[in-house]
């Protein structure tokens, strides 16, 4: 069971210090199956787009329609764990008792044996795993991820990326993944869309050879996307 999202004419502006900033400006986008990466410079509206899809903001114009069935899960840039709850309680957060198999999720995210630890007793990478498990606890059909690995060191980040790919293979879900890292986008994405000026600027399918993914990206695609990003001035 997977779900997607169909966005048409989406606009959102914010008033910051009396100045109006048009963050999204008539954005059209349709999620397809797999991992879609939204790439763009900082401040381009990537997070706003995810918050709109998650229902945490209301659009000024346009529509967001969920396609398919199932729930939406969200993983934030910071783990955002409840500091007074254990790892297991954080994973179960917001669920009725017995609705999710916490032990299985702890296993799946490499946290077996750490269910009773409080967040401050866990490393940064482990806290991110708990946050990921919490999003998966709802058996989401679509997972929104807002630069979830940006604050991690390089080795932990790579481990988390592999973990995500594994989980994506194991569970039937689509992923909408926001990042400003081109390397991350090329490694994780089945499709990469570039956000600029409040709209989608480019849309690339990432060709995948059968077998495990490599971290050596398709050079031609890298050059194409890089030139798209470089020609745009940061918003």
């Amino acid at each position: 069971m997977t779900a997607g999202v169909e966005i048409t004419g989406l606009s959102k502006r914010f008033a910051i210090h009396g100045r109006t900033v048009q963050v999204l400006d008539g954005l059209d986008f349709t999620q397809r199956d797999g991992i879609t990466v939204i790439l763009g410079a900082s401040g381009c509206g990537k997070t706003t787009l995810l918050r709109l899809v998650a229902g945490m903001e209301t659009p000024d114009a346009g529509t967001i329609r969920m396609t398919g069935t199932g729930r939406i899960g969200m993983v934030f840039q910071e783990p955002r764990l409840m500091p007074w709850l254990t790892a297991a309680q954080n994973i179960r957060f917001g669920q009725r008792a017995g609705r999710c198999d916490v032990e299985h999720l702890l296993d799946l995210t490499g946290l077996a044996g750490f269910g009773d630890a409080l967040p401050h007793q866990l490393s940064g990478g482990m806290q991110h795993r708990v946050a990921l498990a919490r999003a998966l606890a709802h058996s989401p059909a679509l997972v929104l991820m807002d630069e979830p690995f940006a604050g991690l060191d390089a080795l932990t980040r790579e481990a988390m990326q592999d973990q995500l790919l594994e989980l994506h293979r194991a569970m039937a879900m689509n992923v909408l993944f926001v990042t400003h890292s081109l390397d991350e986008a090329l490694y994780l994405g089945d499709r990469i869309v570039v956000l600029d000026g409040g709209r989608l600027d480019a849309d690339h399918d990432v060709p995948r050879l059968p077998g495990p993914r490599t971290r050596e990206p398709d050079l031609e695609l890298t050059r194409t996307i890089r030139s798209t990003i470089q020609k745009d001035t940061p918003c």
Binding site: R51, G73, E78, R80
Partner: protein
């Protein structure tokens, strides 16, 4: 040296100085009764059930007043959070009451309610209300929007976010307010009892003063201090077991 041992040492030193001053007979036994005299009065008052009776009466008043004040403080803090417009109307009145010492109301309270329980209850409630109200209000308002977003992402209702995120997040502030209020309530109660009561530790002290029994006055003062410290310690101990994240050190 353990904290307990240090406490015992300081107490022993104070009692030793006290004993020395009375042994030198610098003042009459009425002005400063000896530790032995105070001790024998304390034993006698405890054995007769007089002292425990006054302690229980005073403590009961504090508990009732404290519970009412907590209910009101929580309700007003929730109003301040949910209805900031209404809170704007309440703030001038609350600000006024906060700056009026409740003991100054006693003449009016005696006039209105006599010397029965209501007047003392009003004094305790007014004294205990503000530290709790301000801390609970601050705690509920300062909840991290990032954590509230998590509530939205797991589809919690408004009430779910309030009880599962806002209240636990505010718990350290709520408990600090409760601890301060408990001490305030205890102190205000004794004042109220000294002016208008027929029982309780404040009454005991006032009565002893009128009978020129300084030894009984000191027994009353010691009882107030000991019960106050014991209550605070018990509260701190109960809280330490509950707060598992980060503020342990401030709850010694």
């Amino acid at each position: 040296m353990s904290a307990f041992l240090r406490g015992v040492l300081v107490t022993a030193a104070v009692v030793a100085v006290w004993w020395l001053l009375t042994a030198l007979e610098l003042w009459s036994a009425y002005v400063l009764p000896s530790p032995a005299r105070v001790w024998s009065s304390a034993v006698e008052m405890t054995a007769s059930g007089e002292l425990p009776g006054h302690v229980v009466t005073s403590f009961g008043r504090v508990l009732v007043g404290f519970a009412v004040a907590f209910g009101l403080a929580f309700a007003f803090a929730v109003v301040a959070l949910v209805l900031p417009g209404l809170d704007g109307f309440l703030q001038p009145l609350l600000g006024f009451l906060r700056n009026v010492p409740p003991l100054s109301l006693i003449p009016l309270l005696i006039l209105w309610f006599g010397i029965d329980e209501t007047g003392k209850l009003v004094v305790i409630v007014l004294t205990a209300f503000f530290p709790m109200y301000m801390n609970i209000s601050k705690g509920l308002r300062s909840c991290s929007p990032q954590l509230l977003d998590v509530g939205t992402s797991v589809q919690l209702s408004g009430a779910g976010k309030f009880f599962l995120i806002r209240v636990p997040h505010a718990l350290p502030d709520i408990l600090v307010g409760m601890r301060i209020s408990l001490g305030f309530a205890w102190r205000a109660l004794v004042g109220a009892e000294m002016l208008a009561a027929a029982s309780g530790l404040g009454y005991l002290i006032n009565d002893a003063q009128q009978m020129s029994r300084s030894d009984r006055v000191i027994v009353g003062i010691l009882a107030i201090g000991i019960v106050g410290v014991a209550t605070d310690r018990l509260f701190a101990r109960a809280v330490r077991g509950r707060l598992r994240w980060g503020i342990d050190d401030s709850w010694s």
